[in-house]
């Protein structure tokens, strides 16, 4: 700065002086020109040692390393300073130039003419290229250029760098205050410190400098006065070439200076003649050199200008984004003459082109333009870039607003919808994941083996010795349900394994959903477990597990232990009649016991059946009958169990089937024997069989037995039943039912009667249905022979039996008349008997039936629905009888029943009935009889 300021100092002083004295510039000249007598030798005084190192201290002619890093700040400062220099040049140049001129004139006027002034000028000119620059620029450029340049720089300064700009003059003024010596000393100290480091690098220069310095240190120093920072070329490695060029120039200048200094030296030595001659010679040379130099200067100027522009450009580039559009507009307004098209007038192609490129990329494209347009370019580029940014913004805005509002709305709505949808999906997914996570908290806490273990425990509780018996009711119920659903009744609902037990699977699954599959899974699992258990059992002998159970068995059935039994009766003398709680223990010996009991029964039968001993025995007591019945029930259950087992045995070997058959027939024989059907009729009254069927459970036993007995056996049962019909309780005590007041006895009898009709008659019905005419007439004869027919017909069971027989005869007669030719029809012998049947039936029932129907005062007196229903079998019997009756018999029937029929019809027609059902029942009953006669109740008019 001090070196830079040296020149400025002059100027400042000059200015000060001028300001102080108010003189013209001409007076100043005398002070500052060296070539005159008035020269105060200030330059010599300034001469100091060690200046030769200035070069290496402040950057010399050597190439600048690439490691120079100039920050943006210094660049800016340079930018500030450069225009400052320029502007100061502009302001001070003209006086200077004038002073030059005046100095020239003074020189001309003085001892030496233009010859002396010329070197002076050249001396000024031939300072460092930098210091020369402004002046040379000033000389080369037109004043207008200068003004513009200045204004540009000042505007730039005003825009962004005002603080630095204000700082710059301050430094200059400071330098003005400090003496040159001080500054020189400072610089020297720094230079000495740095010299040691840079000595080797700058040796060549040193040598050169020393050569020159020996004679002309003053000029050399002046030449080197520009500090390295002020070399714009040195600021970037990009300008190496420029630097080299500059160095060339400098060398030339050095040469010039050498010459010039020689000249000066001669001048100082006052050797005028020689000097003049030499000077003439030198001047000629100089002229030549100056021309050459000016040419180079022009080049340099151009380069400098470019450099300046580029720097400006670079400094502006970051600002582009920051610049406001308003500023841009201001710029536009400030420079309407700019050859750049206004934003509105930019052609579309250009627009597109620019739009495609970011502002940063614009530079290279604009490079040619920028070079062509020269000095205007920095501003233009700046402007362009601003415009571009503006336009990009505008473009963006236009793009945004290009689509219509509706479209935009639609797009927005669509976007919103999508966002919402995505959010919803996300929410759903999260909730699902949370749920799964919640549910799977305890996943895999149990291993598969754990689960299997627990399942095994659970299943082991279900395994029983006899799955049917232990799960009896569920089995039966499920069988009923399944048959009702139309499924295969033979479906095994028991999972049996081995010979020792099984698992009852209970009901068949109903309903859809997950349960059936779960049940199926369970079944599969059970099967698997059972299979595994079986396999293990098979492997056992191999595993030499002979000691198992040696220490006793643990009771695996603790679940059956509670609650404790109150009565513990030892059943050492075991039999089939055991208490339920002892059943398990008894079952082992059940077979033997049953056999024993059967033997006992057989013995008993054998004794009673002994023809030699036809002595009458006491009838079975109730207790005996009940005991026998219990035994019979046991037998029946056994037989039924065996029947169930048969289904599994069918497919197996004949041996097993034979064994089964043997056992089955044995059991059936036992059953038959214990029924005491074959006991002679005269053994007791009532007959043991009749005693057995006296209790309701005895009656209910018959249907269960009938399926196991052969038809012949059943026929025997029927015959016995008919033969001993009047011995039955329900026939003997039938009159109780006609007693109007209710009693426990009546209820019991009613129950028994119902049981007889429901069970016994139902079980013998198939036998009668298949019976031939001969058998029916034989049975009828038996009934008439052994029973009091009147009392029998006055009972409901008796009526039912008689009706059965008569309807069967009627059916036989019908089949005979309709299909006489068929082979399966009754034989001739049978038809003869058939003809006899009505005659057999004719004499006896006639009057009694009429009496029966007519003399039931309790029922007719209280004409309730109940009695009408009860009367129905009577009317049915009468109808059946009427069918077989001859004309005389029919007439007799009608005469006997006339009153009754008329009463029923009258009460039905005249509304003497409680409700419609009763009326219908009455009429139905009457019609039942009348239809048999070929009449109808509607024919009767009262």
């Amino acid at each position: 700065m001090s070196f830079f300021g040296f020149e400025q100092n002059d100027r400042l002083q000059q200015e000060k002086q001028r300001f102080r004295e108010g003189k013209l510039e001409q007076e100043d000249l005398a002070v500052y020109t060296w070539g005159e007598d008035s020269y105060d030798g200030l330059g010599d005084a300034l001469q100091e040692g060690g200046d030769e190192l200035n070069d290496e201290t402040f950057g010399g002619t050597e190439q600048v390393g690439k490691d120079f890093d100039f920050t943006q700040q210094t660049l800016l400062i340079d930018d500030q300073l450069e225009p400052l220099l320029v502007s100061s040049d502009n302001t001070f140049k003209q006086p200077f130039a004038q002073s030059d001129l005046s100095r020239d004139t003074a020189n001309a006027h003085g001892t030496q003419a233009s010859s002396s002034s010329r070197p002076g000028q050249s001396l000024w000119d031939e300072k460092s290229p930098f210091s020369v620059l402004p002046r040379s620029g000033g000389t080369s450029r037109s004043p207008a250029d200068h003004v513009r340049n200045g204004s540009v720089s000042s505007s730039n300064l005003a825009q962004s760098h005002s603080p630095s700009a204000s700082a710059a003059p301050q430094t200059t003024s400071q330098t003005g205050v400090r003496t040159l010596q001080d500054i020189e000393a400072e610089m020297k100290a720094v230079a000495i410190a740095q010299r040691m480091q840079n000595a080797a690098v700058t040796q060549r220069q040193q040598l050169m400098q020393e050569q020159q310095h020996a004679q002309q240190p003053h000029h050399y120093q002046q030449q080197r006065s520009a500090p390295p920072r002020m070399h714009p070329q040195a600021q970037s490695p990009r300008f190496h070439q420029q630097l080299q060029q500059q160095q060339l120039i400098q060398q030339q200048q050095l040469r010039e200076q050498q010459l010039h200094e020689q000249l000066q030296l001669q001048f100082r030595q006052q050797q005028m003649l020689e000097q003049e001659r030499e000077r003439m010679l030198q001047e000629a040379q100089l002229q030549e050199q100056i021309r050459e130099r000016q040419l180079q200067e022009l080049q340099l100027q151009e380069q400098l200008r470019l450099d300046q522009m580029e720097r400006q450009l670079r400094s502006q580039r970051p600002d582009i984004r920051q610049h406001q559009i308003i500023q841009n507009h201001q710029h536009l307004h400030q420079r309407p003459s700019s050859d750049l098209p206004l934003p509105g007038t930019i052609p579309p192609q250009q627009l597109v082109q620019r739009r495609q490129q970011s502002p940063a990329f614009i530079d290279p494209h604009l490079q040619p333009q920028y070079q062509q347009k020269g000095q205007y370019m920095p501003q233009n580029i700046q402007l362009q870039q601003r415009l571009l940014s503006e336009m990009a913004q505008a473009e963006f805005m236009r793009d945004m607003q290009a689509v219509s509002q509706a479209e935009q709305d639609a797009l927005q709505a669509e976007a919103m919808r999508r966002i919402m949808e995505t959010e919803r999906m996300e929410e759903k997914r999260r909730r699902k994941a949370a749920k799964i996570a919640h549910m799977s908290r305890y996943n895999d806490l149990m291993t598969q083996s754990d689960k299997d273990f627990i399942t095994r425990i659970q299943v082991s509780q279900l395994v029983t010795q006899d799955p049917y018996a232990d799960d009896f009711y569920a089995q039966v119920y499920s069988a009923i349900v399944r048959s009702r659903l139309g499924l295969q009744p033979s479906d095994e609902r028991v999972l049996k394994f081995g010979a020792f037990g099984g698992v009852g699977l209970g009901m068949g699954q109903k309903g859809a959903g997950r349960r059936p599959s779960a049940m199926q899974k369970m079944e599969q699992q059970v099967e698997r477990i059972v299979h595994n258990a079986r396999q293990r059992e098979q492997e056992k002998p191999v595993n030499h597990n002979n000691l198992q159970g040696a220490l006793g068995k643990t009771s695996g059935r603790s679940y059956k232990a509670a609650p404790r039994q109150l009565l513990q009766v030892d059943s050492s003398n075991s039999s089939s009649h055991a208490h339920i709680s002892k059943e398990d223990a008894i079952r082992k010996h059940g077979e033997g016991a049953a056999k024993e009991a059967a033997k006992i029964g057989a013995e008993a039968l054998g004794v009673t059946a002994d023809p030699d001993d036809t002595a009458r025995r006491d009838p079975l007591s109730t207790k005996e009958a009940l005991t026998i019945l219990e035994y019979l029930y046991d037998l029946v259950l056994d037989i039924e169990q065996i029947r169930r087992e048969q289904s599994g045995l069918d497919a197996e070997g004949t041996e097993a089937a034979e064994t089964w058959n043997k056992r089955y027939s044995e059991l059936v024989q036992q059953l038959w024997d214990d029924l005491r059907v074959m006991v002679p009729l005269e053994t007791s009254n009532p007959h043991p069989f009749i005693s057995l069927i006296a209790p309701s459970k005895g009656k209910k036993l018959l249907p269960r037995i009938s399926r196991h007995l052969s038809s012949q056996q059943m026929l025997t049962v029927l015959t016995l039943l008919v033969a001993c019909f009047s011995q039955m309780d329900i026939v003997v005590h039938a009159s109780i039912l006609d007693v109007p007041e209710e009693s426990t006895q009546q209820q019991d009898l009613e129950r028994q009667t119902q049981a007889f009709l429901g069970s016994v008659v139902q079980s013998i019905l198939p036998v009668i249905a298949k019976a031939g005419l001969r058998l029916v007439s034989g049975l009828l004869g038996l009934l008439l022979e052994r029973s009091d027919i009147v009392s029998v017909t006055q009972t409901r069971p008796g009526l039912a039996i008689l009706t059965l027989f008569l309807s069967r005869v009627e059916l036989i007669k019908q089949s005979m008349s309709t299909a006489t030719e068929l082979s399966e029809l009754p034989t001739q012998d049978e038809t003869e008997q058939c003809a006899l049947t009505p005659q057999l039936a004719l004499p006896f029932p006639f009057g009694t039936h009429c009496r029966r129907a007519g003399c039931r005062p309790p029922n007719t007196v209280a004409p309730t629905l109940h009695t009408e229903t009860l009367d129905q079998p009577v009317w049915q019997f009468l109808a059946a009888l009427a069918l077989h009756a001859t004309n005389e018999q029919q007439q007799a029937l009608v005469t006997a029943l006339r009153e009754k029929v008329l009463e029923n019809v009258a009460s039905a027609n005249k509304g003497w009935v409680a409700d419609e059902d009763e009326r219908r029942a009455k009429l139905g009953n009457v019609n039942l009889f009348l239809h048999a006669l070929g009449l109808d109740s509607s024919q009767i008019s009262i």
Partner: protein
């Protein structure tokens, strides 16, 4: 006749009365008649068509003679489960 062979324990007698009308005496001066359907080792019973007879003695200690008036209440039930701990006796109904 050796029909007693099938009877080894008291419960076998009760077994004979299955599906027959039985008379059951209970604690608390109650009597039942009904058809026995099932029983177990605790004498729990299942009866149907039950008639229960409850005897209430009113003012047993109020009278000087020490004889209260016995009120007999009867009720009928379709089906009844009798807990075994209240059963005193089970017998077939007396035949007239």
């Amino acid at each position: 006749m050796d029909t007693s062979a099938g009877i080894q324990e008291p419960f076998d007698l009760i077994r004979l009365s299955l599906s027959e009308r039985v008379f059951v005496k209970l604690r608390g001066d109650r009597e039942l008649t009904g058809i026995l359907h099932a029983y177990d080792g605790h004498m729990n019973l299942i009866l149907s068509e039950v008639e229960e007879t409850i005897m209430l003695v009113d003012g047993a200690d109020s009278g000087p003679s020490g004889q209260g008036i016995v009120n007999v209440t009867k009720r009928k039930m379709e089906m009844l489960f009798v807990r075994g701990d209240g059963v005193i006796l089970v017998s077939p109904p007396s035949r007239t």
